[in-house]
């Protein structure tokens, strides 16, 4: 019997027919709800297969008017009992609040969260410094292997992508600069542009963005999933400080590597720019290098090298901080990873502006 579910309503007897299963229920629920007259009995002897949904529909009819059911086999009777026993009101979603209150609530929560995050970040920065201080007092606790491992992940493995990016950026700066300067017949000043902007700003800034996207996010995701798997708790119980084992190696390696990576990026960008100058502006490499030495003050190199470790610190701390904040579910790991990258890049750019003002005011122009 594979007829769809249906019913007959005669002499106060509601007789169901066909298969009362989820797949074959059709519009039966709507039609049953639309019944105006209340049945006195329910008859099931013409029903084929029946599943819990069918049983539930029968239960709904029976429940409303408390009427007897005929023709139910033992199994179906049992099923009806089970369904009736499971008839308990259930909320599907948590209660929703009025929209206005919700907006207020969200604004308030966001403000509090922002404040707490800032406070937490400072707190974490302090804890990192204290951890570092502890390490200085007890150098034997220094985890050389972990730092070396992070050196490889953060630094060595990033060389290719940072190099490629910087090379292209160097070409783009040279090309755009040359196009504009050509209008004044001053293409040769493209060399000033390339040398100064890459060493002072772009080399280290682009590297910071790449490291934040590559390593900051990885820190947040690694520490976050370790927190979820209770690995961090296990470490604490065993007596291993997560700060020393997880955070400090990452922070130290990023702080140490950022100047190297930033300088490397600037050099590769200058090579890219130099090659463009050679091909497009007919400036041979030897002239390019000589000119660069003339026009780029050594302070530009210092500016880049001073900024880089600070950026590295910000990236590593915000990555580790967000990772350690993970609790609850896997979704949190994703949210925290995103937050760590956004936070790191934002803070890097804010600090870059501060540095720009500072270096101008001390005369390193």
């Amino acid at each position: 019997m594979t007829a769809p579910a249906d019913y007959r309503f005669e002499d106060g007897i509601l007789s169901f027919t066909g298969d009362m299963t989820l797949a074959r229920i059709g519009d039966l629920p709507q039609r049953l709800t639309a019944l105006t007259e209340k049945p006195d009995r329910v008859d099931l002897k013409d029903v084929g297969r029946i599943d819990t949904v069918g049983a539930w529909l029968i239960h709904r009819v029976v429940r409303e008017s408390d009427i007897p059911v005929d023709g139910a086999s033992e199994d179906v009777g049992h099923l009806l009992e089970q369904v009736a026993a499971a008839d308990k009101p259930l909320k599907i979603r948590p209660d929703a609040r009025p929209a206005f209150l919700r907006v207020l609530n969200e604004m308030g929560t966001a403000t509090i969260t922002a404040g707490k995050t800032l406070y937490g970040l400072l707190d974490f920065f302090g804890a990192t410094l204290i951890g570092f201080g502890g390490l200085l007092r007890h150098p034997s606790r220094f985890r050389g292997n972990a730092v070396a491992r992070q050196f490889e992940v953060v630094g060595v493995q990033a060389l290719a992508i940072i190099g490629l990016m910087s090379f292209l950026i160097g070409i783009v700066i040279a090309q755009q600069g040359a196009v504009q300067l050509r209008q004044f017949g001053a293409e040769v000043f493209a060399i000033n542009l390339i040398g100064r902007i890459t060493l002072r700003e772009l080399g280290v800034l682009m590297t910071a963005i790449m490291v934040a996207g590559r390593s900051g996010s990885a820190f947040a995701a690694q520490l976050g999933s370790m927190k979820l798997a209770e690995e961090v708790d296990a470490m604490r119980i065993i007596g291993v400080s997560p700060m020393e084992a997880l955070v400090l190696p990452r922070v130290m390696s990023t702080v140490l590597l950022m100047p190297l990576l930033g300088f490397y990026a600037a050099m590769i960008a200058m090579i890219g720019g130099g090659i463009f100058c050679w091909i497009d502006l007919d400036i041979p490499p030897i002239t390019f290098i000589a000119r660069t030495r003339e026009v780029v003050p050594i302070t530009d190199v210092w500016v880049g090298l001073i900024k880089a470790p600070v950026f590295g610190l910000i990236i590593a701390i915000s990555g580790c901080f967000q990772g350690m904040q993970v609790k609850g579910n896997a979704e949190e790991v994703g949210l925290r990873t995103t937050a760590s990258v956004v936070q790191a890049i934002f803070l890097v750019i804010v600090l870059d502006a501060v540095f720009a003002v500072f270096f101008s005011s001390i005369g390193w122009i």
Partner: protein
């Protein structure tokens, strides 16, 4: 239970013959790189039975389940569910068979962004998008209640639940489409003995009520004694034996002996006899 609308093109008599075998696995081979997990698994699961699958850690119990439900493509072998070949089927055909079974994963595998009740509704929404919203909510309500969860669990998110509640919620979702076949991966692992016994009872009662066939992976000897009709033993990359527990014990295989006659096995057997008495 009468037959479903025909799905395969197989001749009717061909179907009758296999009618009572819900899962048919033959010559199944699985390997991960160098490591061979299964080397010729043969296993049949009959309609209406609860088959327990046991084996030491790493013998590929979960891999066997994953091969049957199509999450792991085996290197070789035949897997048929409801008489339908499952390997190499195109997605659309496989999907039609898939909705006739429910799976409870080890950790529950609830969708973390949805509430428990919404989790239960996911499969129903997917296959029956035209269902009345009120009926959908009612179905979620009685499914959740049937698995023994309290009413206040409905609007909670999985991260707010305990392990046992998550398993029950997972079971409610597995039962959402009123499947004929249920796969359970260690359903009582990590539950306290009271919850575990209640879970066993729940599965046995659902089997009676809904006429389910159950493929049950477990380490829990109490579960094996309490609800399994037959037990399949996985060892040495094969199914070394299938049968009732007394049948298995009669085989004199050292691993089976140790499994069922070790201290825990004896305790579970004693408990089972006490319950029957």
């Amino acid at each position: 239970m009468t037959d479903q609308p025909p799905i395969s093109d197989a001749a009717p008599d061909d179907r009758d013959k296999r009618d009572d075998v819900i899962i048919h696995v033959a010559g199944l081979k699985n390997s991960f790189g160098e490591q061979v997990v299964h080397d010729g698994i043969d296993l049949d699961v009959s309609r209406g039975e609860i088959l327990g699958v046991v084996g030491g850690s790493g013998t590929g119990k979960s891999v066997l389940m994953r091969s049957i439900i199509g999450l792991q493509v085996p290197d070789e072998g035949i897997v048929e569910v409801f008489g339908e070949p499952m390997i190499g089927r195109d997605e659309h055909d496989a999907q039609r068979v898939r909705k006739r079974w429910g799976v409870l994963f080890q950790g529950g595998a609830l969708f973390s962004t949805l509430t428990v009740a919404e989790n239960v509704q996911v499969p129903i929404r997917e296959y029956f998008p035209d269902l009345e919203p009120t009926l959908l909510d009612e179905i979620a309500a009685y499914k959740v209640a049937m698995t023994g969860l309290a009413a206040e669990t409905g609007p909670k998110y999985p991260s707010e639940l305990s392990g046992g509640m998550r398993k029950r919620a997972g079971l409610a979702r597995a039962l959402a489409l009123d499947p004929q076949l249920l796969f359970l991966d260690e359903p009582t692992a990590g539950l306290d003995p009271i919850s575990a016994a209640a879970f066993d009872e729940l599965i046995a009662s659902l089997r009676r009520t809904l006429g389910l066939t159950v493929f049950l992976i477990t380490h829990d000897l109490d579960t094996l004694y309490a609800i399994c009709d037959r037990v399949a033993v996985l060892a040495d990359k094969h199914v070394i034996a299938v049968g009732t527990i007394p049948e298995l014990l009669a085989l004199d295989h050292p691993w089976i002996e140790e499994y069922f006659k070790g201290p825990r096995g004896r305790a579970a057997a004693d408990a089972a006899t006490r319950n029957e008495a």
